[in-house]
Amino acid sequence: MYRYDEFDLGFVSGRVDQFRDQVRRRIAGELTEEQFRPLRLMNGLYLQLHAYMLRVCVPYGTMNAPQLRKLAHIARKYDRGYGHFTTRQNIQFNWPRLQDVPDILEELSEVEMHAIQTSGNCIRNVTTDQFAGAAADEIIDPRPVAEIIRQWSSLHPEFTFLPRKFKIAITGAPEDRAAVRFHDIGLMAQEDEAGEVGWSVYVGGGMGRTPMIGQRIRNFVPHEDLLAYLESVLRVYNRYGRRDNKYKARIKILVHEEGLATIREQVDSEFEKVRGGILTLPEEELSRIRAYFAPPQFVLSDDRFNLADLKRNDAGFARFVEYNSHPHRQAGYTSLTISLKPIGGVPGDATAEQMEVVADLAERFSFNELRVSHEQNLVLPHVAIRDVRAVYDVLKEYALAEANVGLITDMITCPGLDYCALANARSIPIAQDLARRFGTPERQAEIGPLKINISGCINACGHHHVGHIGVLGVEKKGTELYQLTLGGDASESAAIGDILGPGIVAEAVPDAVERLVQTYLGLRETKDETFIAAVKRVGAVPFREAYLAT
């Protein structure tokens, strides 16, 4: 993975010193909250319902063991012994005290981490496929390009005060595991007719109160021109994005109001001016960055899982292998997802002890590499198949071996009203109730792949719009109500879910989801037809009827 150079080290430690002085001035009364607020937000420090919340950046979801160990240390020393992994592949601490934050940032800088640009109207953490550099279906490892985008976008002088926040996602595989069409800019690796790999660019996607699917603005941008093209898109957005209304300030609204053709024309015009200039990425620089992401020294092996054998001999382990392993590009290896969705637990949370255990496993079994997925799980990207049993045994001991990845209990869930100052309703208890209802291994296996995403408000941090079943918390006359949507899809077949009917109370959500599941089980053509495939085949009508039935 990428290692800081002297510039990076100086830049991050300089920011720590700067923020330490800002905190000192705030506590001394030299700064008002109005003056201090933008400064703390630039360093990832929010004020939530009960306390401050510090959002720490995990660049494109990639970490090593010492970094995760440091996060565990911070959780234990400065917080309450746990952290919350987010859909932005970051981690949040819910209980830091203001005067401790400079120390936390200093500790983070020791392992090349920070909280810069995790808030504010700037380019946020670039997100990517959690199996980047490991997936069998990958056309290209997107991490070097993600790192180049990180360097370009960090404290970019022109784009530090955009009309609104700006999110870029990138995937190097044809299967979109990074929800690229729901980002301000989405990049998908693409081969041109000559076999050269470049990037297909989508623009104007997003969730929130106005969900939109990103549209392809350019079929192919070569590596060397990518920064120039991104800069062109950002310039058009920075110039024409609506600053008059924060709810209409994202690029998706600009694209929607002006039309893709107009935006494309403006971007192309800008691109012609900057193309071939200082932003051109030389092949030698790309190679230099690529070297940081060179594949580890894999041991040649033709080991494979024999799932039938495993199912006969150890059903629990077989389920773990079936659901939590992902095909690796190197024979004899697999990528293992560590589910942070224990039945009845808080989705995305990990204790300090669990983080340390995972860090140890990464060192012992995954070449010191770790990933955070946008689905709020952790990943050991390169595990030898012969080591999977040993990894599983350790995970089991620390309540980390839930075999549910991609199943109904692997829910994306925002912190909701239990923590968030913006939320209207709680999300976590809904996820817990649903997990308890559907959580037996047999039930989950019977239902098969099904994504439930839960948000506590219309800002959609829980990605409810793209849940196969989405749950949106709203508040009506002091009561939490939940609106269910159907048919959302974050994959390459991107779709926004349709609202099924009026909101229902929390206690009614498990039964409502039960009726949707039963409808699916009753109408699927074969056991291999997934929930979302069945919804796309038959449409929403039978599901809506089931939802409305009491």
């Binding site: 705030r26 506590i27 009364g29 008002t32 909250e33 004020l47 939530q48 319902l49 009960h50 306390a51 401050y52 309450r80 209980w95 005290r97 203001l98 005067q99 808080v346 009203l417 239990d418 923590y419 939320a423 209207n424 709680r426 976590i428 208890p429 817990q432 508040e475 002091g478 009561t479 939490e480």
Partner: protein, 101 residues
């Protein structure tokens, strides 16, 4: 009926303005303001902001239920009692965090 609430600067903890002019963590110690005390409430909000030790200072509607102060909004009830599932205690104030007007 209203109470006066804020977040304390150092801890970020939820606090409530009491009859003794100190800020307390326990909502049950909050002073209750009647509709006729709106102008005094405005003055206290301005004074609280001026301390620079209190953030998000606001009046919040409450009711009295069996002798206990209960915030009207669920958000405020969770804010007063802590996250619900699992239940976490609210952020504690340390000695140095206490503020008075």
């Amino acid at each position: 009926m209203q109470i006066l609430t804020a977040n304390e600067l150092l801890s970020g903890a939820s606090v409530y303005f009491g009859d003794d002019r100190h800020w307390h963590q326990d909502i049950q110690r909050a002073r209750i303001f009647s509709e006729t005390e709106a102008s005094e409430l405005d003055g206290l909000i301005a004074a609280a902001v001026a301390t620079k030790r209190l953030i998000s200072v606001a009046a919040e509607k409450v009711r009295i239920d069996k002798g206990r102060v209960v915030a009207q909004r669920l958000r405020e009830r969770i804010r007063a009692e802590g996250p619900t599932s699992p239940r976490h205690a609210v952020q504690p104030l340390r000695e140095s965090d206490h503020v008075s007007l």
